[in-house]
């Protein structure tokens, strides 16, 4: 019996730069035809290889982690294996029923009830009606939304929505399961439950490819790990080995990012960025924060020559690309006018609780000579998730707005 589940040979995928071009219109197509008839003015189009000549095999019943920084080709690999998109070159052979979870809750319809969405989403994920019916009870109890089963999901809180979506997805039973970063949802206790479910899935004799930035989850679930970097397999082997090399390489993971090679890290001859970390109230590194509690952004940098009038700080940017606020360490009056002697420094900023709304945020780390000349600007240095555990009174869904501050109100009866 063949023990190979996935066999990949010289697989490559090319995308046009920018990934999605503006849509063509018929007029453009006709126009291009006309102009190319007159003269060939074809611009050299720019392409990127999202996957570049990948070859590997995954055995049956093996749980394999896929790591690498954003844009390394992880999702593209899953998309090709699940037949959502085709490779540009090469070949992949998969044996058995493949199901993929690139996102949870795909195809949920807000007007339909929880019950109806279980069936719709299940069918979209490739389950038969009878299969959904037989697992219906399990799905409902896993999602903990029994009471709201017949409520349209548009009235669900984001937590309930995610729980229901994950519950459906968790009950897929293919031979090969491809999972993209989907565990980063819900509150801590639900994440724990999801991870437990993934544990069962990987132990149940299924072949699993599991993309994640969460090294703890990778360590727990996978025996082997594929490390992708710029579309190539940088390393493929036992989890411990690959994960430690990956972390040593100084890539972004779990709420912190380090720069090791000095000449290439952001900065100049006087100042070099070393790391950015996200810390919770107990000074523990975290990758997601609870909106109700304060947390810290800690920037570590090295001063190589004495400098003064310099600040480091960050721009907090929302998932929509909106700058939420900008702040720098010259706010610390004790240091603002001092000359910093060579050494290693940490500047930490406390961001109060009850301020941010839930969602993804990213940090651009920057340093300048007091609002004048920029020394370095590192965009997307770190991204993190803010979870909303405390919602304003009488609200069951994510409130609108970039921030969600807790404000005081007073009601007075005047007449």
């Amino acid at each position: 019996m063949n023990k190979t589940a996935i066999e990949i040979k010289n697989l490559s995928k090319r995308y046009r730069l920018g990934e999605r071009l503006p849509y063509k219109t018929l007029r453009d197509a006709l126009g291009n035809f006309m102009s190319s008839a007159i003269k060939s003015n074809k611009k050299a189009e720019e392409f990127i290889w999202a996957l570049d000549d990948i070859s590997l095999t995954v055995d049956k019943a093996e749980a394999v982690g896929v790591i690498g920084r954003n844009g390394a080709g992880k999702t593209t690999l899953l998309k090709i294996l699940s037949r959502i998109t085709r490779p540009t070159k090469g070949l992949a052979r998969v044996s058995g029923r493949v199901r993929s979870l690139l996102e949870i809750g795909t195809g949920f319809h807000s007007e339909l009830t929880g019950r109806e969405n279980i069936f719709l989403n299940g069918a979209l994920l490739g389950m038969r009606k009878s299969e959904i019916e037989s697992k219906f009870k399990e799905i409902v109890s896993f999602s903990e939304i029994e009471k709201f089963l017949d409520t349209p999901v548009k009235h669900y809180s984001s937590g309930m929505y995610m729980r229901l979506a994950f519950a459906v997805a968790a009950h897929l039973e293919p031979e090969i399961l491809l999972v993209d970063e989907v565990l980063a949802v819900g509150d801590a206790s639900f994440q724990k439950k999801c991870l437990g479910k993934m544990d069962d899935v990987t132990r149940g004799g299924r072949t699993v490819l599991f993309v994640s930035h969460n090294m703890a989850a990778i360590n727990r679930l996978c025996r082997k790990v594929i490390w992708l970097d710029e579309g190539k397999v940088k390393m493929f082997g036992p989890t411990q080995e690959v994960v430690s090399s990956y972390l040593a390489f100084g890539e972004e993971f779990e709420g912190q990012r380090r720069w090791v090679d000095e000449p290439s890290s952001p900065g100049n001859d006087n100042i070099r960025l070393r790391s950015v970390r996200l810390l919770d109230v107990n000074q523990q590194p975290v990758s997601s924060v609870d909106a109700a509690n304060p947390f810290f952004v800690e920037i570590e940098y090295k001063i190589l020559n004495p400098v003064s009038g310099v600040q480091v700080g960050f721009w907090l940017i929302s998932a929509q690309g909106i700058v939420v606020f900008v702040s720098g360490d010259k706010e610390d009056v004790e240091w603002a006018d001092k000359t910093r002697q060579p050494g290693i420094y940490k500047s930490a900023c406390k961001i109060p609780g009850l301020l941010l709304n839930s969602g993804m945020y990213s940090l651009t780390i920057a340093s300048d000579v007091f609002n004048n000349e920029a020394i370095f600007v590192k965009e997307g240095a770190l991204s993190f998730q803010v979870e909303q555990t405390r919602l304003p009174a009488h609200s069951s869904t994510r409130p609108a707005g970039i921030i969600c501050p807790f404000l005081e109100w007073h009601i007075t009866k005047t007449e």
């Binding site: 219109t25 699940s82 085709r86 109806e116």
Partner: protein
């Protein structure tokens, strides 16, 4: 694992020659069912008068047509009262027009799903086309009611209606295979479709009888499959006459051609939908 001889699927670059897999469509039949069910459910949940829309649209079109074409322009109606003459055509026509525009947008509208989940994409236009059948059935029942009102007896030829309906469904589906796939790549197709449907309305015997077209051109007229379908509905239901088989044959052949080419085209571009949509 029980089955040792699992299918090994090969994933290769876009070939443009993928074979249409009926077997795969069959595997996903439950998804088709749920998509149709969802469309119907959502439509009826979100609208105040729900199923009444199925009737209102052809009904008001009938009123307007009767007034302007029947009364003012005095367009002949084969000696049938103009309102029912128009309504019998508007029932299949409304289904055609609504389903075609829904199906054309079906792939683009499901962009989020197409880029995240694999399933035979053909299910999307197909579900739009099948979903419209509920409205069609409601409107058809009203048509039967109107026939009683006008004292038109049900013809023994009524068994022919399901066959004509099948031709109607395949017509809509075939055209939407082309338009939905084209719409993924060329976004102005959706605007062109509105215009196309308007033109098509006047190229079909909805407001006027097919008998207005000289006999020798009737064959050519059948190249528009909706002409065959609509004239068929009218002659069976209102005139208790067998449809013009010559015209129907031409229509069926045209539909067959559009269907086969549509499937081929759809399959060719399907593989790259997720990259383009």
């Amino acid at each position: 694992m029980e089955n040792n001889n699992q299918d090994i699927a090969e994933i290769k670059p876009v070939s443009g020659m993928a074979a249409f897999s009926l077997k795969e469509l069959w595997l996903y039949r439950d998804l088709l069912y749920f998509l149709v069910w969802r469309d119907i459910k959502v439509r009826y949940k979100q609208t105040v008068i729900g199923g009444a829309w199925a009737v209102i649209q052809p009904f008001f079109a009938m009123v307007v047509f009767s007034l302007f074409f029947g009364r003012l322009a005095r367009i002949p109606s084969d000696n049938i009262p103009y309102p029912i003459f128009a309504f019998a055509a508007l029932v299949p026509w409304t289904y055609f027009a609504n389903s075609l525009s829904l199906a054309t947008n079906s792939l683009v509208e499901h962009r989020a799903v197409i880029t995240k989940i694999y399933f035979p994409r053909i299910i999307l236009p197909l579900s739009s086309v099948l979903g419209g059948l509920v409205d069609f059935s409601i409107a058809f029942i009203v048509l039967i009611g109107m026939m009683f009102f006008y004292g038109i007896a049900l013809s023994p030829l009524i068994w022919f209606v399901p066959l004509l309906t099948l031709l109607l469904i395949i017509t809509v589906f075939s055209v939407s295979l082309w338009l939905s796939a084209l719409n993924v790549e060329y976004r102005d197709v959706r605007y062109a479709v509105g215009f196309l449907i308007q033109l098509w309305l006047f190229a079909s015997p909805v407001a006027y009888p097919a008998s207005l077209v000289p006999q020798k051109w009737r064959f050519l007229y059948g190249l528009n499959p909706m002409a065959g379908v609509i004239e068929g509905f009218r002659s069976i239901l209102l005139m208790a006459k067998a449809p013009d088989f010559g015209m129907l044959l031409v229509s069926s052949l045209v539909v067959l051609l559009v269907f086969i080419s549509g499937i081929v085209y759809f399959q060719r571009v399907e593989e790259s939908f997720a990259d383009v949509v």
